[in-house]
């Protein structure tokens, strides 16, 4: 049985369904992320798990027990708030000890566990400081310590890294991963930053307009998005309208208007003959899967087309080429600059050949 079970939960604000019939199940020990643009309902779900909102319909079960009648203070769930929400009139140690004090633990027990937690979040030397004397990263660690000190079943994190600068954010990401591994507490993490979600999570639920679009491991989500929204929201992707010519067991043949026929991998979940020919959708392929070569080369690839370089972005580690195809499509191709001493190979205006393997990309059934 899953640790947390969200069953057909809907929550409205007036006429607006912030969360629309969402079902999720989260396993014990998992680092689970709710990812989506602002207003997609991810924070609303988090607040329902914490108990600050109640679902209008549906159930939230923790260890199989419905939480509907349990107020926030009685749930074995802790939240790390976006603003950290530290108590400004208490020292770091007092902040961290607060949940233990509320649980009426014995004083020596409180002292011992507070000290352990201070060590764990590397703030032992700041125990007697007040929150306003700490840096953003340190405040963040106090919030984490306070949330973890009483060993909750579930830790909810509401965009906890949003307020940190890029470098510190990366440090905290690594720290979060090792902390989660160390304490073994289930994390439910909310973010709108797809790179953060990919880097941290065991599984990600991509949300859009109150609904869950796809739940998968990061690599599956990135490699095999199941909808235009997911494909577009996670990373960069080239998207072109496509029509099914033939969907067979081993491969799919697609027609791209104005370009011709391509071969694509089989569509997930579709058995032979399951997808009618003529079905419309989109073919999506990542820029790093698109090869770019001198015109006439790349012919060994099954899917290859001539094009013209219209734009290039030198990014240091990679160069991004925007290639204009015969049918007016712009395709993005990514070329790593890993060979030493080699800068841009192609110039704007060069005629090139682009192509991709027959097993790259996905067909998204519209």
């Amino acid at each position: 049985m899953a640790l947390l079970e969200i069953k057909n939960v809907t929550r409205r604000f007036g006429d607006f369904a912030a969360v629309d019939n969402v079902s999720l199940s989260i396993e014990a020990g998992e680092f689970f992320t709710l990812l989506g643009p602002s207003g997609c309902g991810k924070t609303t779900i988090l607040r329902m798990i914490a108990g600050f909102y109640l679902p209008d319909s549906g159930q939230i079960l923790l260890d199989g027990k419905d939480l509907a009648d349990t107020p926030p203070e009685k749930r074995p769930v802790r939240t790390v708030f976006q603003s950290y929400a530290l108590f400004p009139h208490m020292t770091v140690a007092q902040n961290i000890a607060f949940p233990l004090k509320m649980a009426r633990c014995a004083p020596q027990d409180i002292q011992k566990r507070t000290r352990e937690t201070l060590e764990q979040v590397r703030l032992a030397d700041k125990a007697e400081h007040y929150p306003n004397e700490l840096s953003g990263g340190q405040q963040q660690r106090v919030a984490l310590g306070r949330a973890l000190v009483s060993h909750p079943r579930l830790l909810l994190l509401d965009e906890p890294l949003a307020a940190l600068d890029a470098k510190l954010r990366e440090e905290m990401q690594l720290e979060l991963i090792s902390l989660q591994r160390e304490v073994g507490v289930t994390f439910v993490f909310v973010t709108h930053a797809q790179d953060e979600a990919l880097a941290l999570s065991h599984r990600i639920a991509v949300m859009n307009r109150g609904r869950v679009e796809q739940v998968d491991e990061p690599s599956k989500l990135y490699g095999f998005p199941q909808s235009r929204f997911v494909a577009d929201f996670i990373g960069h992707i080239n998207m072109m309208d496509a029509q099914v010519i033939e969907a067979a067991h081993g491969h799919t043949r697609l027609a791209i208007p104005g370009l011709g026929e391509i071969t694509a991998p089989p569509v997930a979940g579709v058995t032979a003959g399951g997808l009618a020919s003529g079905a419309k959708g989109a073919f999506a392929i990542r820029p790093e899967q698109v090869r770019i070569g001198i015109h006439g080369e790349a012919a060994e690839l099954k899917n290859h087309f001539p094009g013209e370089v219209r734009n290039l972005l030198y990014r240091g580690d990679v160069t991004v080429y925007k290639v204009h195809l015969a049918n007016g499509l712009m395709v993005e191709a990514l070329l790593p600059n890993s060979a030493p001493g080699r800068a841009e190979i192609f110039e704007v205006g060069d005629t090139v050949s682009i192509g991709w393997r027959h097993d790259a990309g996905v067909f998204l059934h519209a």
Binding site: A50, G51, F52, P71, P72, E73, K74, V77, R78, T79, F81, Q82, S83, A85, L86, F87, P88, H89, F98, P99, M102, A103, R146, S150
Partner: protein, 263 residues
């Protein structure tokens, strides 16, 4: 250009000085003449503590001062409790009607409040005018001041702090006791001090609700100057001024935002 700006600056300084002189010279004169060794407030004769001595032996005056202190203490204590509750409610429920009801007595002309309270006490409550009616009246007009100071301090706080407390296992009551109350305490104290100063120097509303038996310091001063402004009045005014000033300074030290709401 520079000279022009300088001259304009000069003009502003003069205007400001004139305004401050107009505001504070009368007060200064009251203070100075409380030390004047003469029965008349006409010319400076010499320095004396005499009028303070007279004051200390004026039974009526001491009784009035005692009443004033008792009224101010009781009413400001009650006001602090009720006003804090009102301020929290105004912040939490954000009902326009609630804010309107709490704040109206603050904006209401005192004379109107005085008359309506008088009618209410006598005709509806059938209350004999005296200490109780004065205290009730003072609570009525000062709740709004405490409420708005408390609400302002709550409005400046991160709402998620209170959610975090619940999240950490604190019931609503313990959230109030451990988080909300310590955080608003400076504003509560400052609001209470304000209520105290409002009470101790109130004249109009007290005048209407005091009845015949009880006198307060402002009422006593008023009845004395009906005859003549004696230096004794100067002396008691000086003391009252000092007390009020000290309390306001104290209140603004505790919660800097408090002065913004002093009328």
């Amino acid at each position: 250009m520079r000279k022009e700006a300088g001259r304009r600056g000069m003009g502003l300084w003069v205007a400001a000085l004139a305004v401050y002189a107009f505001l504070y010279l009368p007060l200064l004169i009251v203070v100075i003449y409380s030390f004047n060794d003469s029965r008349l407030n006409a010319e400076w004769v010499g320095f004396t503590w005499h009028w303070y001595d007279v004051l200390l032996h004026d039974e009526d005056m001491l009784a009035a001062a005692g009443n004033s202190l008792l009224i101010a203490l009781t009413s400001s204590l009650m006001t602090t409790i009720l006003g804090t509750m009102a301020g929290i409610a105004m912040h939490r429920y954000r009902l326009k009607a609630l804010t309107f009801m709490v704040m109206t007595p603050v904006a209401m002309p005192e004379i109107l409040l005085g008359v309506s309270l008088l009618l209410f006490f006598i005709q509806i409550l059938n209350l004999t005018l005296g200490m109780v009616s004065i205290i009730l009246a003072h609570i009525t007009f000062s709740i709004g001041f405490v409420a708005i100071v408390v609400r302002t301090s709550l409005a400046g706080m991160d709402e998620s702090i209170f959610e975090a407390a619940r999240d950490c296992g604190a019931s609503p009551w313990r959230t109030f006791r451990h988080i909300t109350f310590p955080l608003i305490l400076p504003s509560v104290v400052a609001g209470g001090l304000m209520a105290f100063t409002l009470s101790i120097d109130d004249f109009v509303i007290t005048f209407f609700t005091a009845g015949v038996g009880v006198s307060t310091l402002p009422l006593r001063i008023y009845s004395m100057i009906k005859i003549a402004v004696t230096p004794e009045v100067n002396a008691v005014s000086t003391l009252l001024m000092l007390l009020t000033l000290a309390l306001i300074v104290l209140a603004s030290r505790i919660a800097p935002s408090v002065l913004r709401f002093k009328t």
